[in-house]
Symmetry: C2
Subunit: 229 residues, 2 copies
């Protein structure tokens, strides 16, 4: 795989000069992870940040009694661990591979060097962080203020506003029902019931593991309605 064009079309590389994209590409280290493999533990010192080339990564908080709350699921092109550009920050959550994944890692210091010549990369990182923060706030809202059907609709809508905070009309979700249930704080059974109902009303399309959002507006109505769906 050629890293340069990958970075060029990535939110991280947006509007960067070719010379600085080369600096990034040359310093990137590719790493492979098996399904379930730990990428980083909560409170590890963050030394590198990550860009997903292929596969899927989850970021999560775990409780001492073994329960888990998924915070994010990152697919190809997504960036995480940006706090690595500071030498005194620790990773705020754990991350592991949901399936076989290939990641690019970049040392935090590299960004500093590039940024002092051209700050574009920092603007790109701020954009990524602002989107993460927005997703995080939406997750808090989902857990605190919404019932399960609203949560499902909200989660599906959030999934169509990923990478670079741009809205996509339709999106394919490839995560398992089990992972999705973990995010919205529901059981796989309840989740399946709600998904089937949404599919019957043509708001989504279900095909095995693949889930496709078809009607954002209708999902938006459910996500906002306080009446039971």
């Amino acid at each position: 795989m050629n890293i340069l064009p990958f970075l060029q079309s990535n939110p991280l590389g947006r509007e960067m000069t070719k010379a600085h994209l080369w600096d990034l590409a040359n310093a990137a280290i590719k790493k492979n992870y098996r399904t379930g493999q730990t990428i980083i533990n909560e409170n590890d010192i963050a030394e590198v940040f990550y860009v997903v080339i292929s596969g899927m990564v989850k970021m999560f908080k775990a409780s001492p009694d073994g329960r888990e709350q998924t915070l994010y699921i990152f697919g190809p092109g997504e960036i995480f661990g940006v706090c690595a550009i500071f030498s005194d920050m620790v990773f705020p959550a754990g991350a592991s591979a949901l399936e076989e994944s290939v990641l690019l890692t970049f040392k935090g210091d590299l960004v500093k060097d590039i940024a002092h010549q051209d700050p574009t990369i920092l603007f790109n990182m701020i954009r990524v962080l602002a989107c993460r923060l927005k997703e995080s706030m939406a997750l808090v809202e989902l857990l605190a203020l919404k019932d399960i059907p609203q949560r499902v609709a909200s989660f599906l809508l959030m999934s169509t506003i990923k990478k670079d905070c741009r809205e996509e009309a339709a999106v394919d979700l490839m995560i398992t029902r089990r992972e999705m249930a973990k995010i919205i704080g529901s059981t796989p059974e309840t989740l399946s019931r709600v998904l089937k109902k949404l599919a019957m009303e043509n708001m989504i399309e279900l095909k095995g593991r693949r889930l496709r959002v078809l009607n954002r507006n209708a999902l938006n109505d459910i996500s906002r309605a306080s009446v039971m769906y």
Copy 2:
């Protein structure tokens, strides 16, 4: 009030040159807000970002049926609305003044101009966003995985790691019990019961509205324990 020394000691101004601090100070517009006054609505286009001079601001998500989840409480020195440096982003949550507050506002464009001469301000903003994200993840964890006593302990610990992500040994919380209950998803009555118990065991000190954290380690044990406190 002299804005320059205020900005100099603020996370936003960290390690910035005096010349650029002057640029910031000269462009700042001071605004006063009454208790309860709206500062910005969710989905408003973000044109300025804010630094709290005095008072207290809450950022929140509201549901159509009038329920509310507080996301953050910002006191003097804290920064919010950083997404204003991008012209295409909307504010991800509402913000209003919890008490009479004075805020400095800065146009997003200003940061771009300064950053192209010296990227320090962007590093400072990334640090602020990384801390917000960390707090946001902690709030998700709190709501999803913790019982009420654990939530209280976690919230108090989170409050000692504010501004600039630095840990403070003790911290004075000046928010009302009602606001605190709103953050942790509890009732003021239950919250008061837990706080009294913590005070009796000398983990915190209660004095009217003022709450002081005395023993971080003990709170940490409660926050992590899955046994009922």
